[in-house]
């Protein structure tokens, strides 16, 4: 195809308009990623600077694979994903279905969904830390009123994991609900009417009209949730600091501790590369599932 001068000019304008984005991504992502990978092969700690640090090959990686704390943090991160992603989906779907009812005044419900989304994760962490406080927390107060014993929520490993997971689900389910609500509102009314005429019950309408129509929105919500769940940091940091012991420490928290507290940049970089691999694997599994779903259509 011949390219006229107009098109050529337009092409250059296009590249010029893409240049700022490319420059920003180059400085903030591409260069640091290269640096991350290079640093992960060196032994960079307190005093030494990256340039003169000794090259150690895969030693940092070998150390990680033999480091029980790395495996513990990886296990905790995966457990957070497995627990909180499906839970946020179920809670978010519930909230979206409730929010989709015909309200006369819409703002309280909409703001109720937006507020948890808009809060910083650390705030959610602090709020729930206060809820789960042993003496003055409202959770234990409710337990007492219902005739149960108070629980050591934040100082016993299993309960601390549960408490942090609940906070994560509260914070993240509102985003899921907003995405699913948009999906629900896009379903044509006629579909429900046709199903009703055919004598479908409410449950049947949900199974055969709502869920299939909501599928793309659910996939999007799941991908976003999984990507953020891999990076879980703020809420356990604010609620437990990774404790008791290391029972709620995530990979992100361990990387932060290794580099910023222990100043072991070489090892921290290797951990970050490993974490990126985990995250890339998780996203690609999802991306493949979507493209398969698209092909099937």
């Amino acid at each position: 195809m011949r390219v006229g001068p107009l098109e050529r000019g337009e092409r250059w304008l296009g590249y010029a308009m893409l240049a700022p984005a490319a420059a920003l991504l180059g400085l903030i992502v591409v260069y640091p990623v290269v640096r991350l990978i290079l640093t992960s092969f060196r032994q960079v700690d307190q005093g030494s600077r990256a340039g003169e640090a000794p090259f150690v090959g895969f030693e940092n990686y070998a150390y990680a694979l033999a480091d029980p704390r790395f495996w513990g943090a990886t296990g905790n991160t995966l457990l957070y994903i497995v627990l909180t992603v499906p839970a946020a989906l179920v809670v978010g779907l519930g909230l979206a279905l409730l929010a989709n009812l015909p309200f006369r005044v819409k703002w309280p419900v909409r703001l109720g969904l937006l507020l948890p989304w808009a809060l910083p994760l650390v705030f959610a962490g602090l709020i729930f830390r206060w809820f789960f406080e042993y003496q003055q927390g409202i959770v234990n107060d409710v337990l007492l009123r219902l005739g149960f014993e108070k629980l050591q929520w934040l100082s016993s490993p299993g309960l601390a994991f549960a408490a942090t997971s609940i906070a994560i689900v509260w914070k993240s389910s509102s985003f899921v609900a907003l995405v699913l609500l948009a999906g629900l509102q896009a379903i044509p009314r006629e579909l429900y009417e046709a199903a009703s005429v055919d004598g479908a019950s409410a449950w049947q309408r949900f199974r055969s009209v709502t869920l299939p129509a909501l599928r793309p929105a659910i996939v999007v919500a799941l991908i976003f949730r999984t990507i953020t769940a891999i990076q879980t940091f703020d809420i356990p940091y604010a609620m437990t600091g990774g404790g008791p012991g290391e029972s709620t420490e995530t990979l992100a928290m361990y990387i932060h501790k290794t580099t910023i507290d222990f100043l072991d940049f070489g090892y921290g970089s290797a951990l970050a590369v490993l974490m990126f691999l985990v995250s890339a694997a998780a996203t690609s599994v999802y991306l493949r599932r979507i493209s398969r779903a698209e092909d099937a259509r």
Binding site: I28, P120, F123, L126, L178, S279
Partner: protein
Amino acid sequence: MIPTRRRMVWLAALIVAGNGFLPVLWILFTSLKTEGELMRQPITYWPQDPTFDNYLRAFADQPLPLFLWNSFVVATLSTLLCVTVSALAAYALTRLRVPGRRIILQAILAVAMFPLIALMVPLFQTMRGLGLLNTWLALILPYAVLSMPVCTLVLASFFQDIPADLENAAMIDGCTRLQTLWRVVVPLAGPGVFTAAILAFVNAWDEFLLALTLASRQSMRTVPVGITLYQGEFAFPWPIISAALIVAIVPVAILIAVFQERVVGGLTAGGVKG
């Protein structure tokens, strides 16, 4: 008597609104209680003897206005940068005949979605090397990248909705591409730009990990990091933390309350099309 269906709708509204508001309301109540009331067992729900002392303490114990100012400056400037860069890219990718634009868009999204935590380590080293640690710029640049995917998607979907005929008409009338962009597209894309800006602002306002690592000096801290400083070595001054939380939540709560429809529209446009 209210019919059952109406009552169900009311109950649904109560559940959804309660889920969002009650935790914050509880923090508000806590912030109004005295230290003595807080020690009482069983705990009180409604503040018995409301006091504003905790708010005074919150401002006295930590430089809360400074934290708010840092957050405001960083979030505003990173939003400006992000929206400008994303708008240029989104326009080029939706309106100009750039070869391989689909692949370029996907590359931008993939790169910009690189996990921040993996970037934290090299960014810390890079910013230290550039002498930018503990400056606003150290946060502004990464925050602009943080919101690039959502802003690019939102803006691309807005540009696509502007009829090409309008632009063509302007060019037939003798406008150049850039003049058309400035006189026709920018005014029409206003709502899209605004939506993208709110999302970018909230993302930047909420970010914690990079703020914790790249701006650790007391005078440079943003609100999410500053809030965690109220915890003492042993005791947690919950009424004071609660007061600080309320002060920090109010500005963003007002922002999203005023622009709620836009925020929802932008979130789902960026989300569903991504």
